[in-house]
């Protein structure tokens, strides 16, 4: 049973990855979105230096909204192309959820890397403790992909889709978002990072995944 779930997760991830690699447009849209927003801000600032706190807020805003454009598709696309029901028939709930979550995590990780590099170049961030920054970014991305994948599934069947996903996402992700901004601000400012906050974030990430996993069965096997 255990091994069959892992096998299922691997299959779903591989399928997402293959389909994703063959659709360059989807990737291009996400990355161009991130690039556009960031360069807009950078242009508007004209080299003015932002406070670390503002920089952190900006970083997470750009990551949040770019990830929205990527993640809301992960079930909507299945629904539009008529593959959602066969997936529900053949796939077990947990395998599908975690397979897709893994792919979202991977996607967001690449996206976060891309945004960070651009961010450091365009916005002149001071010297930063890299391990601490990576730890916060990882914890944030974990929460985003965990909640995002689950909530994207809930928007299937909705008449109005545009915007719905972000509306559902925001209240649930605030507990990741606010500490992430707070911690990133400290890292950008060169201050030491309170590890209890990072632990809290990771705990909440875990809570999101466990909660999502339990509730997903109710959603997946519905009539």
């Amino acid at each position: 049973m255990q091994s069959s779930i892992f096998h299922g997760i691997k299959l779903v991830f591989r399928k997402e990855f293959l389909a994703g690699m063959r659709c360059k447009a989807a990737w291009a849209a996400i990355f161009m979105f991130a690039l556009t927003t960031l360069s807009c801000v950078s242009l508007a600032l004209q080299g003015a230096v932002l406070e670390p706190k503002l920089q952190a807020a900006l970083f997470w805003m750009v990551l949040f909204f770019s990830s929205m454009t990527g993640m809301d598709r992960c079930f909507a696309e299945e629904e539009m192309s008529g593959t959602f029901l066969p997936l529900r028939l053949y796939g077990a709930a947990q395998a599908v959820l975690f397979g897709k979550m893994l792919y979202s995590f991977f996607l967001l990780l690449v996206l976060a890397l891309f945004i960070s590099i651009l961010f450091f170049i365009l916005l002149d961030v001071g010297s930063v403790s890299l391990p601490e920054f990576l730890a916060v970014a990882l914890a944030g991305v974990l929460g985003l992909s965990g909640a995002g994948t689950f909530l994207a599934a809930l928007t299937t069947g909705a008449g109005v889709k545009s915007g719905l996903f972000s509306v559902l996402m925001l209240p649930v992700i605030l507990p990741v978002f606010l500490p992430a901004i707070f911690l990133t601000g400290r890292v950008f400012g060169g201050d030491s990072m309170p590890f209890s906050h990072l632990g809290g974030m990771l705990l909440y990430d875990l809570l999101l995944m466990v909660g999502g996993s339990v509730l997903f069965d109710y959603f997946w096997y519905e009539e």
């Binding site: 069959s4 779903v12 293959l18 659709c23 593959t83 053949y90």
Partner: protein, 209 residues
């Protein structure tokens, strides 16, 4: 011995009352055909039987040897072909097949897959390119049939499985369904074609009311 039974099932879409106290028992080992005009509720009947939608009143029960099957247990015994369902357009026929089989924990050897493509009369080269690029509607229907044949499900729910198929495709479906019924599987088949109706062991005519 598996059965799906409808127990005074009622279902409406808004003001439209589609079924009212519908009773039916679908036993395994035979082909049950559902017929009726367009919009009479064939597809909806099949969705109810597959437990993809719940009735407003009454219930649909799947049982094996007298004991009731839970939703996820039932679903893992089911295979379905309907016109609304699609395969992944960005994957090849073979990747699609391996993906869906894999989800059921099945794996086929290259030889078995070659035999399967032969059975649905698809050329091997055609199964190696993404569906979106190459396969016609009828050819995609054949890939769906290949998945159906390969998963060895105990319950087959077929909604117009011969749609878009030529005469040879039609033969394949009919032969496969006959054989599956003789192996003791439960076949539920919605169609408007009188020739397919002739192949049935039992026929349900809709509308019910």
């Amino acid at each position: 011995m598996m059965t799906i039974s409808f127990d005074s099932v009622g279902l409406s879409f808004g003001a439209q009352r589609l079924f009212d106290s519908l009773h039916a028992t679908l036993p395994s080992g035979q082909i049950t055909v559902v017929t009726g005009q367009n919009g009479s509720g064939k597809s909806t009947f099949l969705q109810l039987a597959a437990k993809f939608i719940a009735p407003d009143t009454g219930k649909v029960v799947a049982a094996e040897d007298g004991s009731i099957l839970q939703k996820d247990a039932f679903r893992s015994r089911l295979a379905m072909v309907t016109p609304e369902w699609n395969l992944y357009a960005r994957l090849t026929a073979e990747e699609n097949l391996r993906f869906f089989l894999g989800l059921r924990g099945m794996e086929l050897s290259a030889e078995e897959i070659r035999v399967l493509w032969e059975r649905v009369e698809l050329k091997w080269e055609d199964t190696r390119i993404p569906l979106a690029g190459k396969l016609s509607t009828g050819m995609r229907q054949r890939v769906k049939l290949a998945v159906l044949l390969a998963v060895e499900a105990d319950v087959w729910i077929l909604d117009e499985p011969c749609a878009n198929l030529d005469a040879s495709g039609w033969e394949i479906v009919l032969r496969a369904a006959r054989q599956a019924a003789s192996e003791g599987r439960l076949i539920l088949w919605a169609t408007n074609d009188p020739r397919e109706e002739a192949a049935a062991d039992a026929v349900i005519h809709l509308p019910w009311n």
